[in-house]
Symmetry: C2
Subunit: 410 residues, 2 copies
């Protein structure tokens, strides 16, 4: 019996599963300095002001600004050198009218000082006097208390994926532990009577499993923990039992890489429907490669049935699987403004279908050019050679050489 496809547009397919997938809501507390790449699960207000004391922005002399007004090369202001504030110490000496105190970049300002004269604009006269040959305004070369961040100001918001500088910002205000989302566990099964583990020699008719490893690598880069199950035969009961066990064992997402023949794809859909409500959400997506992709939900767990073709599996997991992982993490995929490139050759497509075409990228005369790699979607080395996927929108029947296209790096 031929399969009945009700193809769904890619955006709609993604929306259907994202709508039902809920953030895990389970968190863990980890050291801030190990938290780069992890997702915050609560807003973080600053527990203190920063800086906590007025700091000098320059090497120079802390002064009362009004003592320098009118100073110039011809008529310098003379100030009495009252001492020095060593780095790391409170200012033990104050600056009275007509006085100056040596300060270093980042050092603390004495209480009565309101500006810093750069050392380049001064001259030492004897042991304890300086000439100032350029006036400073109040506040000049001073970093005020709280200028970096104020008490209670939002440092970062829930759902933010921490970068190197965020780790720095948190540590700067003494936040040495953070609560982050625990990593979603993605259970991945390769299935197919023809599929064997990569370390085994192949016999005629056999191919090595690569899809589960490709999906695992993509999932882990997005912050998930990938759990590869054993390779399953094309047998309904075995698939169902293995899928149920994965959910019982705490999988937060289930991926079956399920071969490409119609009967096997139907089996995946049946398994999803048997796992629980609502079961299959999308059976077939108006896209290429990856049309036979199946999406579902059961027991609150997002389910994804990927075609056996490695390029299809890669593209669909990148386009739909990764956004699901970010949803589980309570966040959106990292802001990645679309990259644009000029197309180096004509490409045909079909209206009503969104195509992702592997391409190489090269910069030429300051413009980025995308050269499509014409391919069969079964060929993994098409992707190995690719720098990106260029997108042919749903409403186009093709693109012409020279047109600007959106490209996603892979």
């Amino acid at each position: 019996m031929p399969e009945f496809f009700t193809l769904v547009a890619p955006d709609e397919a993604r929306a259907r599963i994202l709508e039902q997938a809920a953030p895990l809501g389970q968190t863990e507390i980890i050291p801030t300095h190990k938290a780069a790449g992890r997702t915050l699960c609560a807003d973080v207000p600053s527990p203190q002001v920063l800086p906590e004391f007025r700091r000098s922005a320059m090497d120079g002399y802390a002064v009362q600004a009004q003592d320098t007004f009118g100073a110039g090369d011809a008529l310098p202001a003379y100030l009495k050198l009252a001492g020095e504030v060593p780095m790391g110490c409170a200012a033990a000496v104050d600056v009275g009218p007509g006085a100056a105190v040596l300060v270093h970049t980042g050092g603390m300002l004495p209480d009565s000082a309101d500006a810093v004269v750069m050392i380049e604009n001064t001259q030492l006269v004897g042991q304890d006097e300086i000439e100032v040959c350029k006036p400073v305004a109040p506040g000049e070369n001073v970093i005020q208390v709280g200028e970096d961040i104020a008490l209670g100001d939002p440092i970062l918001t829930s759902g933010h994926i921490l970068r190197a500088q965020d780790v720095g910002g948190l540590l700067a205000v003494g936040i040495v532990q953070v609560e982050v989302m625990r990593r979603p566990r993605v259970a991945i099964f390769a299935t197919g009577d023809e599929v064997i583990e990569p370390y085994l020699p192949t016999r005629p008719g056999q191919v090595r499993d690569i899809n589960s490893y490709i999906v695992a690598a993509l999932a882990e880069r997005a912050g998930a923990e990938a759990v590869r199950g054993s390779i399953l035969p094309d047998d309904f009961d075995t698939l169902l039992v293995s899928a149920r066990q994965a959910l019982d064992n705490g999988a937060d997402m289930l991926v079956l890489s399920a071969g490409s023949s119609v009967s096997v794809r139907d089996m995946t859909a049946d398994v999803f429907n048997r796992l629980g409500e609502p079961g299959v959400l999308v059976h077939g997506i108006a896209t290429r490669p990856g049309k036979p992709t199946i999406l579902g939900m059961a027991q609150g767990v997002p389910l994804m049935g990927l075609p056996g073709n490695p390029v299809s599996a890669f593209v669909q997991f990148a386009m739909i699987g990764l956004p699901v992982i970010y949803r589980l993490l309570g966040t959106a995929p990292p802001k990645e403004p679309s990259m644009r490139a000029r197309l180096a050759a004509n490409i045909a497509s079909t209206a009503g279908r969104e195509d992702y075409v592997p391409c190489t990228l090269a910069e030429q005369d300051g413009e980025l050019w995308a050269e499509p790699i014409f391919f069969k979607s079964n060929l993994i080395f098409t992707l190995v050679k690719a720098d990106g996927l260029l997108v042919i929108p749903l409403d186009k029947t093709g693109l012409e050489a020279g047109e600007w296209v959106r490209v996603r790096r892979v």
Copy 2:
């Protein structure tokens, strides 16, 4: 004594250290499925052809194409159904003239078959005969032996940083272990009498170390192993002994985050010169933020002295430190075509200086806009708020709102 700066343009500064830094040349063998993000240290030729047998690209019937020539809806070709090739098995049944064998997508073709008729273009007649209502050409719907990759073809070249699809490509041809560069060890010291560990409460005049953590996070993302040393006081002998120990203990790169006052910066340069030949290579870069950056080499190890300002330290380590790490890995920084955005506000600069201005990014009407965050380079929260750094080239005295600018994501 005022410091003597001979400012070097950023490209020249980077070139000077990259010229002297040599790839580590030390490798390790790891499982391929754990190698995503690691750098290959040798070209990898394919040890086999892929596919190893002729595969069907469709669900359908393997046939001799000439038996279908002239077939149509009105006058179908009738072929005898000779059997099926189950997935994962060698084709045990052959296709004689006038015969057809059921095959599944990805399955093996019988020896004498040279094409596959899609199942949609056939009809079963009784138990053992099919009607074919559309002809196929020889080779149609067949993936030939070696079409994905040929024996000995280069899979990937030395210096390639492995992505998810590369892991798949290697496993597809049975390469389950790969030789990759070992991670460079980057020793990082924060120095400064005012600097304390982030978990400590601050006293007046003290600030928490964040630069060593920021550098560590950036270095690790680039594939290095970061080794943070203890926080060092502004004392020449302590700095020199600690730096020597780091080199003796096998550091492949040494980073001192060294405060911002002139005396402290001079101390870093003196330490570098005492560590060995050639010592300091660059003392001051024509850039902002980060002018006081110091680059050097000693005992074959690249040395980097970063300003104490966190924004300067971040920018300079990103712009120069990361390329050094990739050089140690025997590769170039990942191909990252420059992102372009339109500038949302005027910015002033100085000719002869390359500026990196933290900015936020937003897409508007399909165009990417960069909004500069005007900042003091001492303020870490400037970077926390930033999506990218926009570049003001060396020869510009500023940029005008609406201009296209290069932006680097941070």
